[in-house]
């Protein structure tokens, strides 16, 4: 049975991804700060903060002992703060960078070690269209995802020798808690900048990730795929 690690699997996109890959026959190792919200015989939850290095190393150790190896990693856990730069405290900046950048990095590092013995291993990171669109009010969130994109491109080169592909998906707004606070007029203005002007769906993200995870995608690495026609 193949093992996929999905961060931020308690709710939102991460939970939907976990449910999708469970249905697809994968063993899922999920994590989030809170307790699990999925009950399934092939679902294993780790309550941790993705930026807590020791906790992630312990999770990797447990996965290695119990399942031996990891075939895929989806670095989905992420937080945002929609606010004008002049109203953004440094504490918020640090929290966003810790979760989105440091967390993504630590998971890539630790899980890549568990992917060394597999052929066709896959890492998919999460970015957002807020970065290419240079969205006002999302300076730190977008900057954190710009860092994730850079990490994706460089790791794709560093991990190629281990036969691990590293790519990223950049969703448009999708109705989850992450964007609950965004006012309606801001959302309308944002959608109008997409080629296809509708809200995204979790199935749009799953489709992109299925493509990256496919065995046939072993020549595709270092790529960022934005949804909704944003480039």
């Amino acid at each position: 049975m193949k093992t996929i690690v999905i961060t931020g699997s308690r709710k939102g996109i991460g939970k939907a991804l976990a449910e999708h890959y469970l249905k697809d026959g994968w063993r899922v190792a999920g994590c989030s700060r809170d307790d699990a919200s999925i009950e399934h015989s092939h679902y294993f939850h780790f309550s941790l903060d993705v930026s807590d290095e020791d906790a992630v190393i312990a999770m990797a150790h447990k996965i290695k002992t119990d399942f031996g190896r990891v075939n895929a990693l989806l670095n989905n856990a992420g937080i945002a703060s929609m606010n004008h730069a002049l109203l953004t405290p440094a504490k918020t900046v640090n929290q966003i960078l810790q979760t989105n950048v440091v967390g993504t990095f630590i998971f890539c590092r630790e899980m890549a070690k568990l992917m060394r013995s597999t052929d066709n291993a896959r890492i998919v990171n999460f970015t957002t269209i807020a970065h290419p669109l240079n969205l006002e009010g999302e300076a730190i969130y977008a900057a954190s995802k710009a860092a994730v994109e850079s990490l994706t491109r460089i790791l794709s080169r560093e991990l190629a020798a281990l036969k691990i592909t590293v790519n990223a998906v950049g969703p448009t707004p999708i109705d989850t808690d992450l964007i609950r606070g965004v006012p309606e007029d801001k959302m309308k203005a944002l959608l109008s900048r997409q080629s296809i002007q509708r809200m995204g769906k979790v199935t749009d993200v799953i489709n992109a990730i299925d493509f990256y995870l496919s065995e046939k995608s072993d020549f595709i690495t270092g790529q960022v795929l934005y949804l909704g026609g944003v480039s």
């Binding site: 190393i57 312990a58 290695k64 070690k113 020798a161």
Partner: protein, 98 residues
């Protein structure tokens, strides 16, 4: 055998396997003093990454503890802990819970 010798022996075995995998002739018969990485060391960064991960794995299997050899201490050390078998064994010992 002292604990250091046990760990050196474990690292030597892993270096031998790595030498086969990466076809590094100078590492086919390593001993504790064999240079691995840095000045006069034959490992490139990819081979080093593999060796470090192999050592972390082997330590976790043998002693049921997880250590990370790529920590701040290693980065800031005056002499790289990756330079030889014996310096790696010291680095492992330093990171093992007592």
């Amino acid at each position: 055998m002292s604990e250091k010798k046990v760990i050196e022996a474990l690292i030597i075995d892993l270096v031998k396997l790595l030498a086969e995998d990466f076809q590094i002739d100078s590492l086919i018969n390593p001993d504790a003093t064999t240079l691995l990485y840095g000045i006069d060391g034959p490992l490139d960064s990819m081979a080093l990454v593999n060796l470090i991960a192999d050592i972390e794995d082997a330590i976790s299997e043998k002693f049921s503890v997880s250590i990370s050899l790529a920590d701040e201490k290693a980065m800031s050390a005056h002499h790289s802990p990756y330079r030889s078998v014996t310096s790696l064994a010291d680095a492992v010992l330093e990171r093992m819970p007592s």
